[in-house]
Symmetry: C2
Subunit: 420 residues, 2 copies
């Protein structure tokens, strides 16, 4: 560090206060909604036995798990997702957990992936899942909670597209064979939001279909109908507050992962800059927990793409400036006025105003410039006059206006204007 410029590892990020405040704001909103829907928090360690993680995500993914040998010669790995550790928790604390465990988990995960725009080696995942029931109420709860979280952040338009793996199996099984698994076909279907139908047909031909089969295969999906259980899920979600216009059956929705067994859904924000891709996605995966070594446990859940959500919320100006940051700077004139500056700081903080006292002695223009640079909206100027009369000259840094006020007036003004 002394000789070379200090830096973060590629694919890893520092979040300086302005960015961190925005992220915390969104995370708080999401957490509040999760709790409103009866989800309770779970935290698992950053490090796990490598044997727990490897072989769980598929061969390609195994390469992306950060693994190493620790000082006790144990093979260990960094958290890759939140589902596998939760499967361990379900198995390890079986008799302690409620029958229908519903948990939320917001932690960072690690992928030794090639860093590129919008793709990082450490990033935040927000998951909710309900374990232990096949009831469509559970699917609907997940969907309604997701919808409510996006609403609460303030997105003006939210579109949830939904399908059922059983719909895809029903229409696509006829095109599958020993050499062509139905899940491979589904992987091609899954790309239809990024590639043209022609390119999809080409890919299906490469997978072994004849040209006419490939065409029939795509056509078969076009007129697909939802299953009864999917209709149930949609109706139940509607009753739980999801507008009928915002929850749309779309038989082309496939979700890449092989482990889904029932409902599958994605959240889209229909604004121009974010037209492509989803902001959250999930579904029902009734076999995965058992496959991961747990007991036979049906499950349904969703994962939020936290980084994309924060980026979209910033683009749409949904994050209030004043939310968590400092509201008031109190100036220091000299040692004779310092006690009054300190008293004011103590009093406004007791009233809940987020306050910084200038931690040095410097001339007033420099103290104002400091507040300005930090984006602190109000400055309490305290000189000999103010100290003697026990008043405060409050400067609004936005308008430049100054007014002489009593302590309680300052509190009232700041409580209403910036303490959102």
């Amino acid at each position: 560090m002394s000789n070379t410029a200090p830096q973060t590892l590629k694919g890893f990020r520092d979040f300086l206060p302005a960015e961190k405040i925005a992220r915390d704001y969104v995370a708080k909103k999401i957490t509040k909604t999760f709790e409103l829907f009866g989800f309770e928090p779970l935290e698992t360690p950053t490090l796990e036995y490598a044997s727990l993680l490897l072989g769980k995500y598929g061969e390609e993914a195994d390469k992306l798990v950060y693994t190493f040998e620790d000082k006790g010669k144990r093979q260990v790995g960094l958290r890759y997702d939140q589902t596998v550790p939760t499967a361990r928790v379900l198995s390890q604390y079986q008799h302690q957990l409620p029958k229908y465990f519903r948990r939320y988990q917001i932690q960072n995960v690690f992928r030794a992936d090639k860093p590129q725009r919008g793709r990082f080696r450490e990033f935040t995942q927000c998951d909710i899942d309900i374990f232990g029931t096949k009831s469509p109420i559970a699917d609907a709860e997940i969907i309604a909670c997701t919808y409510a979280a996006f609403k609460d952040i303030g997105f003006p338009q939210i579109k949830i597209v939904i399908n059922d793996r059983q719909v895809l199996f029903h229409y696509l099984n006829q095109f599958a064979s020993e050499d062509l698994a139905v899940n491979s076909i589904i992987q091609t279907i899954d790309k239809l939001d990024k590639i043209s139908p022609e390119a999809a047909i080409e890919e299906l031909i490469k997978r072994g279909m004849s040209s006419s089969q490939a065409k029939d295969c795509l056509d078969s999906i076009k007129n697909a109908q939802p299953t009864d259980s999917l209709v149930d899920v949609i109706k139940t979600a509607n009753s739980l507050g999801v507008s009928e216009n915002d929850l749309i059956f779309n038989p082309y929705i496939a979700r890449g992962l092989d482990y889904y067994t029932g409902s599958i859904f994605e959240i889209q924000i229909p604004i121009e800059t974010f037209a492509v891709g989803s902001f959250a996605g999930g579904g029902r995966y009734d076999n995965l927990i058992e496959q991961l070594g747990g007991a036979d446990t049906p499950a349904v859940g969703v994962a939020f793409g936290f980084d994309r959500i924060v980026e979209a919320a910033q683009t749409l100006n949904l994050i209030p400036q004043s939310n968590q940051s400092t509201q008031l700077l109190i100036t220091v004139f000299d040692s004779s006025t310092l006690p009054y500056s300190l008293k004011v700081a103590d009093q406004v903080r007791l009233a809940g105003i987020r306050t910084e006292i200038f931690p040095a002695q410097d001339n007033l223009p420099k103290q104002l410039k400091y507040a300005n640079k930090k984006g602190i909206p109000f400055v309490a100027i305290i000189g000999p006059d103010e100290a003697e009369k026990e008043v405060i000259t409050l400067k609004d840094m936005h308008t430049g206006e100054q007014s002489t006020l009593h302590l309680n007036e300052v509190v009232t003004k700041l409580s209403t204007s910036t303490n959102t």
Copy 2:
């Protein structure tokens, strides 16, 4: 995982909902106070270049840093504390950060330490620091903020013991020599809350003092007086709300780490089960940031022992049961009453009640048992009668009382009784 019982690595922990809710409650309180004092959040990556971390904490500590070679053959390491990464941030973003950077940071750190009672390999640190000023106002702000955080959690008694490294240097330099660094003497003084004066004298003799020197050395501290600048810090902290009775000069307080240069302090909670040890500790370290490769940057800060604080808060019953957990379970009778159950769920959630809907169909006793096991305080029983009359039979799981209420009455009752 299929063949052996799944487990966490030794020294690592799962936090199941009840424990996680308690931890989140305390973290939220601490965060709120940090923000009240104008500290803004910072987040740094879990992984850093190993070269950043090694050689920064001393030889012994280097062994405790988790390091490994990543897939790109880079030597990397897991976060060991929050000071070194912040030193990197100060250097890397010098021109972006405010002159007096004051940040809080609450993240997990990793130590390849021998796990033992109360000592873990992954644990949470809460730090606040003010960089860029030697003013005693900064020391006092750190102390006042720490005091306010412990007050806000609800600790009935808080004792801050304070000293100044300059006091120790002043009285102890005369006993130091080329063969005996003053910091070695300080390390013995630091143990006086755990070992007897006799044992301390013995240790000083081992370090090379004569028996009478060792005795004189301890005696010299006994009547030590605070420096002028320490008196300033104490007075300023008092003005910022720290009661005079709770901030006590104690010349034996030494803090183990070599890097402190001025004020040093520890927070003690004088309750029987937690008589020994500190809950937070910090001080002024004006040379460390430069030693770590940054610019010449005076600094003062404190680190909270989050695990001990949570444990003490639980022991003293400072954490309300109902704080974040689910308030209401809504029962499901059959498919004919389901729409009304769903409607009630939607409505109470809109009113801010944390609500779970029973995600299955089962008989009422089982649904009540489920609520009981999960510790959900109220159950909204909805059968054909309730659905027809659009009312709710609300059962208080604590008293067993049942009453038939309208939706708005349920909301009022739950808002006042459990939504703390």
